[in-house]
C-alpha cells in the first residue's frame, strides 16, 4: 500500500459529486460563444467566474443592465448599480442601461439566449418549479416566470436531490410551476442531463457513482445512449 492509498483508506470516504463551484464551472463550460446570458441568484451567477477565457458572453440582469461584471470591493459599492440579486455590480465596456419594460422585452422577446436558474423540481417534459415549495409563505416570483418562458434556452443548476435525499428530477412536478416545457438542460452535483422530447437524457456523470445509483436518486427514467462523459472539474 502506498502512503497515498494508505491516507485514502484511513480518511473518511471521499464525498461523491461536484461542489457548488464545480457545478457552476461545469455549466459554464457549455455556455455558447456569442451568447447573451441571464444568471439567477446563487449557483447560477457563480458560472460567470468559470466561462473559458476569450469566449464572448454578455450578461443581462432583469433590472436593466446589459454588459455588467464584478462590482467594486466591499465598502465602495455604488448602490445605484445593482443586479437582480441586489448585489453591487460594475459596468464593462459596451454596457447599456435601459428601463424595466425594455429589459423584459429582451427576455420575453426571445433575445436572451440562455437563462441559468435554480430549481426545486424538474420534469422530463421541461416543466420547472423553482419559485415556491408548496403553497405556504409569501408568494414571491420575481423575474423567474418571465425568464423561463422567454429565454431561448433554460438551464438549471441544482443539487440532484434535496437535503433530505428526495429526488428533484421527477416524472411530474408537485410544487407550483414556474413554467411549462421550458427546461432544456440540468446541471447537478451528480450529472448533466439534457431534456429532449419529454425525456431526461444522461450526458455526463460524476466520478464515483454508477448510472444505476444515479437512477435511484432520479424519480424519472434516464435515457442513457452514446458516450457518457465522466465529469472532471478542477478543484473548486
Amino acid at each position: 500500500m502506498t502512503p497515498a492509498a494508505d491516507a485514502a483508506a484511513t480518511a473518511k470516504p471521499k464525498k461523491i459529486g461536484l461542489t457548488r463551484a464545480q457545478m457552476a464551472w461545469r455549466a459554464a463550460q457549455d455556455i455558447p460563444d456569442g451568447s447573451y446570458v441571464n444568471l439567477g441568484i446563487g449557483m447560477p451567477e457563480l458560472a460567470a467566474l468559470y466561462v473559458p477565457d476569450g469566449r464572448q458572453v454578455t450578461y443581462h440582469t432583469e433590472n436593466g443592465v446589459l454588459g455588467f461584471g464584478e462590482g467594486p470591493p466591499k465598502g465602495e459599492e455604488d448602490w445605484d448599480l445593482v443586479n437582480a440579486g441586489k448585489k453591487a455590480i460594475g459596468l464593462l465596456p459596451g454596457a447599456s442601461i435601459f428601463h424595466h419594460a425594455d429589459s423584459f422585452a429582451m427576455i420575453r422577446g426571445g433575445h436572451i439566449d440562455l437563462a441559468i436558474l435554480g430549481a426545486f423540481q424538474i420534469a422530463p417534459n421541461g416543466d420547472l418549479a423553482n419559485w415556491r415549495a408548496g403553497n405556504e409563505g409569501i408568494p414571491a416570483v420575481g423575474g423567474a416566470m418571465d425568464l423561463v418562458s422567454g429565454a431561448r434556452q433554460v438551464w438549471c443548476i441544482t443539487d440532484h436531490t434535496t437535503r433530505a435525499g428526495e429526488a428533484k428530477l421527477m416524472d411530474a412536478c408537485t410544487y407550483p410551476l414556474t413554467g411549462i416545457g421550458c427546461v432544456t438542460r440540468v446541471y447537478t452535483d451528480l450529472a448533466v442531463i439534457h431534456v429532449v422530447e419529454g425525456r431526461f437524457h444522461l450526458k455526463a456523470i460524476a466520478e464515483g457513482i454508477t448510472v444505476e445509483e444515479l437512477q435511484a436518486k432520479t424519480a424519472s427514467p434516464l435515457v442513457v445512449e452514446g458516450e457518457i462523459e465522466v465529469m472532471a472539474p478542477p478543484a473548486l
Binding site: 440582469t61 432583469e62 433590472n63 436593466g64 443592465v65 455604488d78 448602490w79 445605484d80 448599480l81 445593482v82 443586479n83 441586489k86 459596468l91 442601461i97 435601459f98 428601463h99 424595466h100 419594460a101 429589459s103 423584459f104 422585452a105 427576455i107 420575453r108 416543466d127 409563505g137 409569501i138 408568494p139 414571491a140 416570483v141 420575481g142 423575474g143 423567474a144 416566470m145 418571465d146 418562458s149 422567454g150 407550483p176 410551476l177 414556474t178 413554467g179 411549462i180
Partner: protein, 245 residues
C-alpha cells in the same frame, strides 16, 4: 392684435417641496413607486407621503420594502391596503411580512416582466395584452388563456396609477429626466402610467441643459418636480439601521 409668432414657450413643470407635491394624494389612491433593491427608491418622497397621512393606498413596486425606512415604513405605518409587486419576500421585509401574516395587507404577486409590461401598457394606452409568462402556473389561474400560432398565452391588463413617485438624477424645468444607472428601472414606465408623476431629482437644470438625444423620460410624462440635492440612498439608510419617522 397678436403679432404672428412662434414664441410660445414650452410647458414648465411646478417645482415644489415634497410636502406640497404630495398634498393632494387622497386616501385610497393608487401610487406607483419606483426603485429596485436600493436603487431608485424615492425615499424622501415616501417619507413625505408618510407625513402626509394618506391611507388605504394601493402601492405598486417591485418589492415590499426593507428595514424601517421608505416603503417598509409606509407599510409599517399601515397606510397600504394593497401592494402589487413581484417579490415581496426578503429577510429584511419584516414590516410587510408582519402586516401580511396579520391579514392587514392584500398582496397581488405579478411576474416581474408582466408587472413592467402592464405598467408600460397603462402608460401607452393599451388596455390588455398577451404574454407567455405564467402560462400553466398558479399566477395564470382565472385569467384568459388564448392560443396564437399554436402556443398558449395569458391575457394581462394594464396598470395605471393616480400618482407615481420616482427618483431621478437630473431634471430640467420642463420635466425631462435622466437617471443614475440601474436606478432607472421602473421609473420611466411609472411616469408614463400615472396621472401625476412626482419626481425627486438630485440635480435641477434649465431647459436645454439635457441633450435631447439622451432624455430618458420626456417632460410630457412628468407632473411635479421636487428638488432633493441631498437625497439619501435607501440601501445606505438600511445599512445604518435607520428608522422613519
Amino acid at each position: 392684435m397678436t403679432t404672428p409668432s412662434a414664441k410660445a414657450t414650452g410647458v414648465l413643470k411646478p417645482v415644489l417641496s415634497a410636502q406640497d407635491a404630495l398634498a393632494d394624494i387622497p386616501d385610497g389612491a393608487t401610487v406607483l413607486i419606483g426603485g429596485f433593491g436600493g436603487a431608485g427608491n424615492p425615499v424622501e418622497l415616501i417619507h413625505a407621503l408618510i407625513d402626509q397621512g394618506a391611507r388605504d393606498l394601493t402601492i405598486v413596486n417591485n418589492n415590499a420594502g426593507n428595514g424601517d425606512v421608505g416603503l417598509a415604513a409606509l407599510i409599517r405605518e399601515r397606510r397600504v391596503a394593497k401592494i402589487i409587486c413581484s417579490f415581496p419576500r426578503a429577510a429584511s421585509a419584516h414590516a410587510f411580512t408582519e402586516e401580511y401574516q396579520a391579514g392587514r395587507i392584500e398582496l397581488e404577486t405579478v411576474p416581474q416582466g408582466t408587472l413592467a409590461e402592464r405598467i408600460r401598457a397603462g402608460g401607452a394606452g393599451v388596455p390588455a395584452f398577451y404574454t407567455r409568462t405564467s402560462v400553466g402556473t398558479p399566477l395564470a389561474e382565472g385569467k384568459e388563456i388564448r392560443a396564437f400560432d399554436g402556443r398558449d398565452y395569458v391575457m394581462e391588463h394594464a396598470i395605471t396609477g393616480d400618482y407615481a413617485l420616482v427618483k431621478c438624477l437630473r431634471a430640467d424645468r420642463m420635466g425631462n429626466l435622466t437617471y443614475s444607472k440601474s436606478a432607472r428601472n421602473f421609473a420611466p414606465i411609472m411616469c408614463m402610467a400615472a396621472k401625476c408623476a412626482v419626481v425627486q431629482t438630485v440635480e435641477l437644470v434649465e431647459p436645454g441643459a439635457i441633450d435631447p438625444e439622451t432624455v430618458v423620460t420626456p417632460g410630457i410624462f412628468t407632473g411635479r418636480i421636487v428638488h432633493t440635492p441631498d437625497a439619501v440612498q435607501e440601501q445606505v439608510l438600511f445599512e445604518q439601521g435607520a428608522r422613519y419617522p
